[in-house]
């Protein structure tokens, strides 16, 4: 398993945990909302589940190039922004109010995700086994001590 695959699997685990947390949070919040419900609150777990874990799972299963560092950061930030925006939208819906800043989260989240895909296309391709250089002996990592002394 190469470094990128390990990273993608770690991302799936993290996003899965985040989705579970979002689900539990929405459930607990609903217990104190006096019967008022919100679609945004109830389904905010879908952002980390499908947008996060689902995307990285697709990259593992399909012959797709993984996100690079910049595109990965942008994509993760976008998903986080959309999830937080959904949380706030749910809070406001249940309370019966609204905020003029609510659209900022949606716009920023979508923009970051779009930027992530743009970066994904323009980032320099890395070898499928990661960026570690190979030694003259064909091994990964730094050259053996014997070779450096030469």
């Amino acid at each position: 398993m190469d470094r990128m695959q390990r990273r993608d699997k770690r991302a799936i685990a993290v996003y899965g945990t985040a989705a579970a947390f979002c689900g539990v949070f929405a459930f607990v919040y609903a217990q104190f909302s006096h019967g008022v419900s919100s679609v945004a609150m109830t389904f905010m777990f879908l952002y980390p589940l499908i947008g996060g874990a689902g995307m990285y799972a697709l990259m593992l299963v399909l012959p797709l190039r993984s996100f690079g560092r910049l595109s990965s950061n942008a994509y993760n930030s976008g998903i986080a922004t959309l999830a937080v925006g959904s949380l706030l939208a749910g809070v406001f819906e249940i309370a019966g109010t609204s905020s003029a800043y609510q659209p900022v989260f949606t716009v920023a989240g979508v923009a970051l995700i779009a930027a992530a895909f743009v970066l994904w296309f323009i980032e320099p391709r890395r070898s499928s086994e990661g960026a570690c250089p190979r030694t003259a002996a064909g091994q990964r990592g730094r050259p053996a001590l014997r070779e450096r002394r030469r």
Binding site: G35, N73, S77, A80, V84, L87, L88, I94, T97, S98
Partner: protein, 288 residues
Amino acid sequence: MLYGVALVGFAVFVLLDTFVLPHAQTAVVATAVGTTVSTGTVASDDVTTATASTSNASTTTPTVTDTSYADENIQITISTLRVDDTDVYVADVQVSSVAYLKTALAQDTFGRNIKQATSDMAEAHDAILAINGDYYGFRDDGFVVRNGVLYRDTVSSGTDALVVGEDGTLSAIGEDATSAASLACAGYWQVLSFGPVLVDDGQLAVDENDEVDKSMTSNPRTAIGMVNPLHYVLVVSDGRTSESEGLTLYQLAQVMQDAGCGMHVRVQPRWRRVLDDVVQRLGGQQPH
């Protein structure tokens, strides 16, 4: 990491801005209708509908008991009911002029998140009876006309506006169909943004499946209705406590219909009410 910190910080700011930070916009315009009147938004961003009696409004000594008030211009009778495991307070109000049906804004200031206890507002405006009103300060839309002064003309889509005419008639108008400016110019004394209409022409206008927004349980309620012009019924129910379960919209509508209302509108759910304080006030006790 840096973006995460910024995201959380911005989210906290948005929450504070929405629920906590006061945004004062306009100081109340004092209108003299026989007496000095300050209008403002009710405590907890609700509008108080206050019936104010001032020293030069009545020339006779009022008759006051624990549950009633009467002078030559204002008659109020308060009764306490037990309906559907809920304490319900019903105030029957008759006035000689619509000028005695006034509203007030918290801290005499129009804006968002401006708050003041309803009982404090009632005392500051020398109100005989006061209840909380709509929640204009908790949102950025909905018509706001108080004591003839226009404060906001932003439509709250799908919302009914309760309008109080110069002759004391209560009626409901869909905000999508008009503007607050035209209502104020037409002489409507008060315009409150809430709803829905519960009783119309003496008939129930809601059924057992109707509820406000996404609320689907029994709640504390506040409502105002009209028996005839200048004859009103104010209803406040407790709820979400161990003593009182609360009322559904349908149950509230039935209470108003039984009280003789030809037309009545729900004012505001889910907020504490001040009618019990007013009962104490009538009895000479200080409201808490």
